[in-house]
Amino acid sequence: MRILIACWIVLFFTPTVFAQELTVGSKRFTESYILGEIIQQTAGATQETTAVHKQGLGNTGIVFAALKGGSIDVYPEYVGTLDKEILKNKAPADIATLHRQLAPMGLGVAVPLGFNNTYALAMPEEKAEALGIRTFSDLAKHPELKIALSQEFLGRADGWPGLQKAYRLPFSTPRGIDHGLSYEAIAQGQIDVTDIYTTDAKIDRYKLRVLTDDRKFFPSYEAVLLYRLDLPQRLPKTWAALQKLEGKISEKRMIAMNAEAELEGKSFATIAAGFLNKEVNAPTTADPQQSFLTKLFGDDFWKLTTEHISLVFISLGFGVLVGVPLGIWAARVPQATQPILSIVGVIQTIPSLALLAFLIPLFQIGTPSALVALFLYALLPIVRNTYTGLSDIPSSLKESALALGLPSVARLRLIELPLAARTILAGIKTSAVINVGTATIAAFIGAGGYGERIASGLALNDNATLLAGAIPAAVLALLVQFGFDVLDRWLIPAGLQTQSSSLES
């Protein structure tokens, strides 16, 4: 059985590892998705290579780790992010300098695309007018305003910490909010101020005033291509085609394309094709004109379902193979109990995106990292229940087994594991159900599954797409639960089926 699973995993991953020659990455927001599509289609048009776009790989840390690790070859990045966040330069550097700094890592930066998408703060036009706020300095006079910022902006040096210092902004650490949700939150009056990108499509739609960075805190966020240095040699024609993108995308054009995605619901592939003046038979899952049911059972439904189920059950399989022995170890060796239970407990508390960012340098972007993360999350319920199931066996039964003269392994196999089977199975069930939910994060690192719809729904602020991912995940969780209940009846020895009085007495 184990060998079968191993073969299957190899077959499952082989195509993604060897068959593709150019892998494009993008971060998890509309503009990055669109630029990623443009890069992919430009590269694909040369016929030199098969180009693949791994969409929405999460935040800068994850995409950069993916590039450095060789899981992707190129992705759209911004000069300011490179400067401050990745290279941590004290003073702003130009593209040539950045290129030199990146060379030791085997990376390069080139092809400024032509627009500057800097950070800014925005608030509702009406409110800004009433309070007379035009600039960041004006904002400092209004500590009563409710401010919420995207997680990434809150954390990075060129984001909130620096901005607050530069303008002496009188706010305590603001709340974190997903960038896709912040416009809704402003529209509903839940927050007053949030960070935006200056090419965001929704600025006009939600009638926001973009405040002026009067002390020029934010550096230039010119869009550029960040790539692996071997790319130009490896695929010269493709690289030449990509270089022609230089200066082709104006700020206005970018805002328009962002609006096409977020307000008109066009797919990223369609928008990219439109930009490159060609027709593309692109999937239109993000199209709001489609009914919810069409979205739910779209072309990608079975692909996503297969991916999701594979993620859940492969990681669960390894969780069982490792978790049950760990639980046995914890139950049998008193000195090992606390260390084992503590470690698997701590793993459970690591936030999923943090865990993924940590795993990507080790296991590459995509399915392997997602599987390892899910495997780690699956451990706690399995280990804990195995430990509890074995420890709760009445000592009279353990002694009876011992007194019979059965060796240790036989006692475990013939007596203790069958007696603990129900508790162990309950732990596996808990892990499986939790994994169905957690597996939705796999999409953030390009491992697919229903999370793809949730991620793009969040990025596009499109609730129907989001639900088309969340509902199947919930249904799958229920099915898994039901499946395990059936398995319970089938696997648990008949003598244990109804609560037995002999266990207690």
Binding site: L402, L404, G405, I415, L419, G495, T498, S502, S505
Partner: protein, 250 residues
Amino acid sequence: MICVENVSKTYGKQTALASTTLVFQAGATTVLIGPSGCGKSTLLRIIVGLIRPDRGRVVLGAQELTADNAEAMRHSLGYVIQDGGLFPHLTAEENVTLLARFLKRSPEAINQRVTALSDLVQLSQTALSRYPKDLSGGQRQRVGLMRALMLDPAILLFDEPLGALDPITRSELQTQLKNIFTDLKKTVVLVTHDMGEAAYFGDEIVLLREGRIVQQGSLADLLERPVEPYVTDFIRAQRSPLPSFEEPVL
């Protein structure tokens, strides 16, 4: 024959068993009796090897019991506890044959032995196919006894075997057990706190108190030549109110 030589066991500052030397005669039934916490169960569990003594040694037959040979030695011991100690996930028959099957005894030999044993303890074929939860207390105890006798061990050890049974079943089983002991000529050690049971079974009675042997001898010895007033007190306190039950005692 079982020899216990200078065996002692303490838990922290609590002496469970002070240095004790005892010989259990082959083919005879020895009863360990005393109030709760007197060390009788500790002594029995040391003989089974469930507890390692702090000092001293246990010799079963001709071999000293060690950590290394405990597993194999247990195959020549039958151990029965209160309520039988049956495994709830196995049927009565599976409980009885578990060890024999593990040791790869032939199915024919196992079947023959099960038939013989179920005749001996008077357990029906239907009861054998049931799970422990579907058996009565007396049936469970019979299955426990069959399991202990399966490999025909020379030594049988009982830890309060009849404690959980109602009086009628208990007396029935007592009679049956006594006959089996007489017929099979096993070396039997039986732990109880019931003087009537001790009197009924014991060729030799060992009275313990606070981890020490107070007196060892036949029932007559204990009744007629108590070494200290406690022996008489203990027997009195436990004496059955029914004159008929006292007959075998006198």
